[in-house]
């Protein structure tokens, strides 16, 4: 399990430093597969059928289908890399180490004993949530933002696994379905964004604001 935790941390650091979208999507796909393996590895000995179902559907949805959808979006829009993020890739890595320290601090604050929860996994889960949030606010492309949401959601999911919460299977699958449909809808809107705005820069979505709105309305005059 510690191997998975370390891989999770490394993949997040990689996402912080990489500009190429194709690679980023593949890294998120690897994360999805790691997460699918987690509950299977976590339950020692006899593995109930429910865990298999959950693990498999996680791998299929987060490791295969959603990354595939994202790469179709990337191919259609012709965008190869993330450009000019609000915080550069090098300094993002630097912030990343800070976030890691923050994740360690949060885990320590919870005052759990190692018997209650695997602390390394818990730390890496909090790290993934923080990195997801960080990417969401510092990157321009709408695609990267939906990837960031997926990273954050992966983090939340593995917090659940490391606290060994066993929700009823139907609830677990419901959560997974919600995330899947959510990212699927984001991908769907990405197609339209690409078509309508001829770019995928989420920070240029500024038509709806209280400051510019009135000016635009006045400027149009009469229709």
């Amino acid at each position: 399990m510690n191997v998975i935790s370390v891989l999770l941390i490394l993949s997040c650091l990689f996402l912080l430093g990489s500009s190429r979208l194709h690679v980023a999507i593949r890294v998120v796909a690897v994360q999805g597969i790691l997460l699918g393996l987690l509950p299977v590895i976590r339950s020692i000995g006899d593995i109930p059928l429910g865990i298999w179902v959950l693990g498999l559907s996680t791998i299929v949805s987060k490791g295969v289908l959603l990354p595939w959808l994202m790469s179709v979006c990337v191919r259609n829009s012709g965008i190869r890399r993330e450009v000019e993020p609000f915080i550069g890739f090098g300094s993002s890595l630097l912030y990343g180490t800070g976030l890691l320290a923050l994740a360690v601090w949060i885990t320590a604050r919870l005052q759990l004993s190692p018997g209650e929860a695997p602390l390394v996994l818990l730390t890496s889960s909090f790290f993934a949530i923080l990195v997801g949030l960080f990417l969401m606010v510092t990157r321009r492309k709408a695609i990267t933002q939906s990837l960031a949401y997926l990273v954050m959601e992966n983090g939340v999911y593995s917090v659940g696994v490391s606290l060994s919460l066993e929700f009823p299977l139907i609830v677990e699958l419901g959560i997974l379905l919600d995330v899947f449909v959510g990212v699927f809808l984001m991908g769907n809107l990405l197609f339209h964004l690409d078509h309508e705005f001829e770019h995928l820069d989420a920070d240029k979505l500024t038509e709806l604001s209280d400051v510019s709105n009135s000016a635009v309305l006045r400027g149009e005059g009469h229709s």
């Binding site: 954050m152 379905l177 919600d178 809107l189 038509e207």
Partner: protein, 488 residues
């Protein structure tokens, strides 16, 4: 049990059918029939004694009973309005009144299917008594409603739908983290997240975890409920959505997230932590009222003005719950009043938009002149939403004020009154200028479907101001007691 399940599954099945049906008229008929029978089913279910089938996973208590009937009533009103609305919408590309681009509506089957799915997910969110199941339902409401906001497929609605989906999904993910922490409150024992189990064992819950869980769930569901400073998506989404959808989003969907917060507060109150959650709720409540008040002032878009007014009223609801005691009763009563009034206002705004073809308040004059019924409704709605007597909102806002004064929170009381006045002044300047004067247009015919629902809602808002029906009063008091209030 079958009754409760059918309240959830029946609209879901109707949604699936709506995607498949090709004939527009048949689909609209299905929409209306579903809305009507959902209301009948809900009322029948509420009349029956409390039942909690499926291992206490879903069930109906006084609190959810109020929300269920309210949601169902609003959906029926929006359906009657909406059926006429989609029938009048052109199928060919049309010119956008604001940015001058062309846009084409979503296929009607997608729209109708989505709105029925929204009803199903809202019903599940209200009826579920398992916190994680409720989370699944609330996130599902976001997913069902995002395509509805994008109905017009214009650039502006696309931007609104994107922000809505992103911000609400992130917020709700934090709420899930809160639910994980909630299950850590029961160390040792089985980690059962049904309300029944949590309330039974409330005395033994770990306070540290419960407090953390409350904060995460408040921020998460607060995003969806539109509490400041997490409200930024709300004015965009509620103003760009087609008007019957705006009515549902503001009147019914915000309530579902509010119910999510109420359930956590219910657990906190049972565990003796009502004051901890209460202070946070009061803080967020006042902040929302203040932010909304400032943005209502000199607002250039009347649908955005209504959206900010929703933020303000969500603030009032949070404040009332935070106060506890009589504030709880006031807050629940205000939920009912606000939903009815806000739905009525958004439907009326839809009539103004279709008559004047603009959302710019400065370019509209003389609504009473061109659209007499709509104009009267617009003024009545303004009076109701700002809490003027004799409307129901006056009673509930006054109850909350009395609760603040009883507790001797003078600063809170002063801010509450100032923010209410701010909203009143801001809205009166905009609404009255729009309603009065000469329009310079010929009188426009107002179709029956477009004025029937808002008229009925207006009458209801007025009736609730002078008379509270017995069954409603009982449930309100009972629900306030569930949340730990005095209920008087």
């Amino acid at each position: 049990m079958i009754l409760l399940l059918s309240i959830i599954l029946f609209p879901a099945a109707a949604a699936a059918a709506a995607y498949a049906i090709r004939d527009n008229r048949l689909r609209r008929l299905l929409w209306g029939m579903t809305a009507g029978s959902h209301l009948v089913l809900s009322i029948v279910a509420v009349m029956q004694p409390v039942s909690m089938p499926l291992g206490h996973w879903i069930g109906l208590d006084s609190l959810s009973a109020i929300f269920l009937v309210l949601t169902s009533l609003l959906f029926l009103g929006a359906a009657i309005y909406g059926i006429g609305y989609v029938a009048r919408e052109p199928v060919t590309p049309q010119l956008h009144s604001e940015d001058g681009s062309f846009f084409e509506n979503e296929p009607e089957s997608v729209f109708t299917g989505g709105i029925l799915l929204l009803l199903a997910t809202m019903s599940l969110a209200i009826l579920s008594r398992h916190l994680a199941l409720q989370w699944v339902a609330i996130e599902a409401t976001t997913l069902a409603s995002a395509p509805l906001i994008y109905y017009h497929q214009s650039r502006r609605s696309l931007e609104a739908a994107w922000k809505y989906l992103m911000l609400c999904s992130v917020g709700i993910a934090l709420a899930l983290l809160g639910i994980f922490f909630m299950s850590m409150t029961r160390q040792g024992g089985p980690r059962d997240l049904t309300l029944t189990a949590l309330l039974e064992q409330a005395g033994t819950l770990n306070h540290k975890w419960l407090g953390t869980a409350f904060i995460f769930m408040l921020v998460g569901y607060g995003t969806k409920m539109g509490l400041a400073p997490m409200h930024t998506w709300l004015p965009d989404a509620h103003s760009e959505a087609p008007s019957p959808v705006s009515a549902l989003l503001s009147g019914a969907l915000l309530n579902c997230a509010f119910l999510g917060i109420l359930r956590v507060q219910q657990v906190c109150a049972a565990a003796g932590m009502a004051a901890f959650g209460g202070d946070l709720l009061i803080l967020f409540g006042l902040l929302s009222m203040g932010v909304a008040g400032v943005f209502i002032l000199r607002q250039a878009d009347y649908k955005r003005m209504l959206a900010y007014s929703s933020v303000e009223h969500m603030g009032i609801l949070a404040l009332g719950v935070g106060l506890g005691g009589m504030g709880l009763f006031g807050s629940l009563l205000h939920t009912v009043n606000h939903s009815i009034v806000k739905a009525m206002l958004f439907l009326t705004a839809g009539n103004i938009l279709s008559g004047f073809r603009t959302k710019d308040t400065m370019r509209i004059q003389g609504i009473c002149d061109a659209l007499p019924i709509t104009g009267a409704l617009w003024i009545a709605g303004f009076l109701a939403v700002t809490g003027s007597p004799p409307f129901g909102t006056f009673v509930s806002e006054f109850t909350i004020l009395r609760s603040i004064l009883d507790q001797g929170r003078w600063i809170t009381a002063a801010l509450y009154v100032i923010f209410l006045l701010l909203a009143f002044v801001g809205m009166s300047a905009i609404v009255l200028r729009m309603a009065l004067g000469r329009s310079g247009m010929k009188r426009i015919r107002e179709p029956l479907t477009a004025v029937l629902s808002p008229l009925v809602f207006a009458v209801l808002a007025l009736v609730l101001g002078v008379y509270l029906p017995g069954p409603l009063l009982d449930r309100l008091q009972d629900a306030a007691q569930l949340l730990g209030g005095a209920g008087k």
